[in-house]
Assembly symmetry: C3
Homo-oligomer: 469 residues x 3
């Protein structure tokens, strides 16, 4: 018995399925490039065992706990930490049981596919998780985690990860990345420059964050020029110490600005004063995307823009539990108007790469593919977050390929905090892409030999190129 | 010869078709729960015969007559009543012939499938409707309608309806519901509390409606507190006399507000004065959704929100024929911003159910599924109005399941004014859901035994639970 | 060996494929109606040979050169003309080689399918275009172009074009159309009245354009009445001299207005003064759509509205190379609010046809199909520009048929500047429609005999009717 079907995600029609399987077989074992995600570099620096099944699969994964919350489980019953340090469940087995009893909630979701894949292919489990099997699962996984073969570095190697990017705040000292490099371990774990805390005037502690930035760099962050220099210094540090090849920016909108330097300096003064209106805050974030792109012209970092999440949608959950707790809801995003100032400034540059990620699928065909099919700087990021799934990837391909082709896209990102889901997520992407390509071949839209080339590029070449890996 | 294909809506691939058929066979004959719709309770109170084929199938069904109008038939030639009481076609056979001659206009539409299903499975007809068969159809149906077996209660029982909710204005005296109950008939026909006429400042006769509300309840509807008490009284009346388990709200936007009681009282004064701006009118409707939700915490009614229809789009048609004449056109709807005040107020309540219905399919995956996959109060309403169809249901499942799963949805609603279409509509939903589930099974995304459980829940369990039936 | 699969675009399932092939075989050879496009009438007036392969396939086709630009080829390396008359590549073989080397960029795109179709079925080529075959291709096509059988009129006849509409500015003298008619050639090439240059206050040279309009018509275009009369005169000229049966309007939004004549006259004065705000300019364009519709009530021209393109998105490319250079990006479009004034004015007219084209696919099911399924004047235009493709047409049918049926749509438009792609594009539309219809038949949603009738109407009857051809 198996938890996963060996032909999963391939088209049901037998002829197309054979085509898909044939394509997949040649990319299934390619190394994993994970150029954007949220794994903790400390895992690989210290290489300690993962503490227990609940802290591996439930507590850090907002995909999992938000679903349980949506059916009435209290966040504290799942061990979600409280901002005030108040009580939350500390018994990992109790958390695990609550999860296992409700595993049917995940039917038909990618989470179920990722989890089943991890349970079976990482831990060797073959029975379905349920209330009945909860304890056996817990004991089995916990025992495995005690083995050396299940420590982070061993799993990294077993997963055939060629490169893994984590994401650190601009204020991070990159201690763990430094430690990884100094350890002599051959695994390639690199950082990404994520300056939201010092770019977004609405970020918690923005003023203090600027002070820290000044302190870290020795630049005068009370002036626009000093502030920009501080970014340049941190970017250089991230490249040198953390091996960064990209920056990343999480903004509520896709707005960009290309103000004169004097207007930008004036806006920076307003923002620093703490008196910026929401519109000015948004304008400042937008100006900083253009500034970052200009710095990329010098230092070669690829620019990633993750736009469109209305973060912390529920006031009470945010007050009690803080950020990243499953209550970030997408909204409409205007890419065509938003990116115009940025693209007027740098859109035709031959050596710059900008990767937009959207949570508004309506923009795939209407805005992003037409722009990526014209501007040399743009490579479309893969489906993100709620759309990193079979249907999501299929809709992305169907909506973008006809206009932008394959070569204006950037390969796959797993974007995960759940380490064990990395092979599962890349496998879903490879299978779905092969299913899509097989459909093109079967309907005379792509030659089979070309489909093999494209499958390889989608799996490996495009990510390597877009991120300069 | 048959009008309907026994394997209709099942996937074409033979293997997947077998799976779909297997799933469908076990839910096809489950009783019908119809928790939201617009049937006339008078039918079941009086149990008189339906007058004629035109008044059964054409005149009350805006799906049907709007299509005929779109190809140049005048509304008055279809018997659509005039506001001024002016002339309109009164010969039902003439109306029927105009419909029959143009039956080809419905090719490929769900209306054709519903109509053919009713013609065949309710009335035993097997030839295609056309100009040639118009009179034979008319005579056959008219003769059947004269039989006792085709009276409303007999059809209700033949259709295996376990519960049918109608929708009444807050000002309705529920005479017919009272009569149904007093008749001793066992059929369960219940009402729904629909207060648009006394909640929407832009509703025709709003001021007079408030006077009637005051009169009906003995509350002082010139004050905010009295007005709220009047709602409480009517809700209690709808529960007691009409068996209501839900309220329903038809709003042009998804806006909600959570004002302080003093601000709400001030807004109510403005609204009562007849001087509210469109923005204030929208704010008031939005505030009332939050008030209704708070009342639901006390009385347990499920809250339905039908948002996003731009009603009465054509000024001339509205002036001549009034509401609900096929000229209600959907528009963009912002659920993520719109529901935030409501969800900040009551979103984490364990015992409240809120069911949103949208006409903006772009919000399925981007806004509604992410919210329903986090907030305990939300259960997604099924595809509504233009989207209550094979493609519409399939898109709904494909866009919501991966994020919200199945258990954050609310089963099926037929939402119809066309009584004979009820079995047809539920059959379409059951077949489409089974087709979707079969696709998941065939591609390794759902285990077959789980698919059977889900099919049962989608057909029966989820609606029963979401509406407290 | 062949470049194109004889069963391309038909469903993979063998049973459905047989149905699709059966439908296609009966429409494949119907004559082509091309009621909207951008071919140059001079080709047919002079009937000179096409100059060379690059000027036939690359230089005029923004689908092709934007994709090459998106991967870093400079526009001037592709012979794209410069506004300042500066240097651009003049060697057609060099342009052709740059194109051929990058032909892999088009994998999976409709451009590849159109190009392969033209290469094989127009020119008899059977090897795949690549760097290796670039010169052989060039020589082969160039030699063919020298033959009489490859001159414009011969190809027109070989393509079985029954009618081809070009699009001319309201200021055009229709010299080539006059010459075609005077030549005695039997090919039906007609014009379309496109008055953007004298309707859009933001068009380059708007004031001078109004002067030219006055000069051409002898009307006083400094007054609103004179200006309207000038339009009437040009429309009559386009009908008489160019055989026009339609007007066409390319607007950034779908806004319409129905102002009083005095307000319209005042707005015209503002617009003429060159001081109109962007909002006033948009209002004026919107008012002119209603004026054009009213003129159509008199002269019978069908009104086409192409709304939603944000033209000339990149400032530098526009400054250097001008309009229509692949940097026109769609944006969100509000049809339900936008068309209301127009539809309140003329929406119920029985003898007027208005054809909307959208670049915002979200409006298919949400706005356009519900409106077309109610208003007699509306016939939905086929998928436009980025969506004139297999997936685009399939999405259009899936999103519109259930609400608007087939008979509220307007058949197919190729809308092309690339003459040789006309048979390829119509073939894609016919195959895709047949694939869609076959799916309906296979799933019991349409009877097979009805599917044959619908296939014929989609291919021929609906366009003929909507454009009065």
């Amino acid at each position: 018995m198996a938890l996963t079907d060996p032909d999963r995600l391939f088209p049901a029609d037998q002829g197309v399925r054979r085509l898909a399987r044939g394509l997949y077989e040649r990319v299934a074992d390619l190394p994993i490039l994970s150029p954007h995600g949220h794994c903790d570099p400390r895992w690989f620096a210290e290489d300690q065992r993962f503490p227990n099944p609940a802290e591996l699969f439930v507590v850090p994964d907002h995909y999992v706990f938000r679903m349980l919350i949506s059916q009435g489980v209290a966040p504290t019953d799942l061990g979600v930490p409280r901002v005030d340090g108040g009580e939350t469940e500390t018994d990992p087995r109790a958390i695990w049981r609550r999860f296992a009893e409700r595993y049917h909630l995940f039917r038909g979701t990618p989470s179920a596919m990722w989890l089943d894949h991890s349970f079976e292919h990482v831990f060797g489990l073959t029975e379905v998780l349920s209330a009945d099997t909860a304890d056996a699962y817990y004991d089995h996984i916990d025992a495995k985690l005690a083995e050396d073969a299940f420590r982070p570095r061993a799993l990294f190697e077993r997963f055939r990860i060629e490169a893994l990017s984590t994401t650190e705040s601009a204020l991070d000292d990159l201690q763990w990345h430094r430690q990884i490099r100094e350890s002599g371990w051959s695994g390639r774990v690199i950082t990404t420059y994520r300056p939201d805390a010092v770019v977004d005037p609405e970020f918690e502690g923005f003023a203090e964050n600027l002070d820290k930035l000044a302190e870290l760099t020795g630049e005068d962050c009370a002036t626009w020029d000093g502030y920009l220099n501080a970014h340049r210094a941190r970017r250089a540090y991230f490249k040198e110490v953390g091996g960064a090849t990209a920056s990343d920016h999480g903004h509520p909108t896709a707005r960009t600005e290309n103000l004169s330097q004097s207007d930008a300096a004036a806006l920076f003064d307003t923002v620093r004063s703490g008196k910026a209106t929401p519109d000015q805050a948004d304008a400042f974030r937008g100006q900083m995307l253009t500034e970052m792109a200009k710095m990329s012209l010098d230092d070669g970092l690829t620019l990633q823009i993750h736009a469109g999440s209305r973060r912390n949608h529920n006031a009470a959950v945010f007050a009690r539990h803080g950020r990243d707790k499953g209550f970030d809801i997408p909204g409409r995003t205007d890419w065509v108007g938003g990116l115009k100032p940025l693209l007027d400034a740098v859109g035709m540059e031959p050596d710059l790469t900008i990767i937009p990620f959207t949570l508004d699928e309506t923009t795939y065909g209407r805005e992003l593919a037409p722009m990526a099919g014209a501007y040399p700087v743009l490579r479309l990021g893969p489906p993100w977050w709620f759309f990193d799934s079979f249907e999501g990837i299929m809709r992305f391909r169907e909506a973008t390929t006809e206009t932008a082709g394959f070569y204006n896209t950037a390969g796959f990102n797993d974007d995960t905090r759940a380490f064990c889901s990395i092979p599962a997520r890349h496998d879903v992407a490879r299978r779905t892409d092969c299913a899509y390509l097989a459909g093109l071949v079967a309907t005379g839209r792509l030659r089979e030999d070309d489909a093999h080339r494209v499958a390889h590029d989608l799996t490996y070449g495009l990510a390597k190129d877009a991120y300069g890996l």
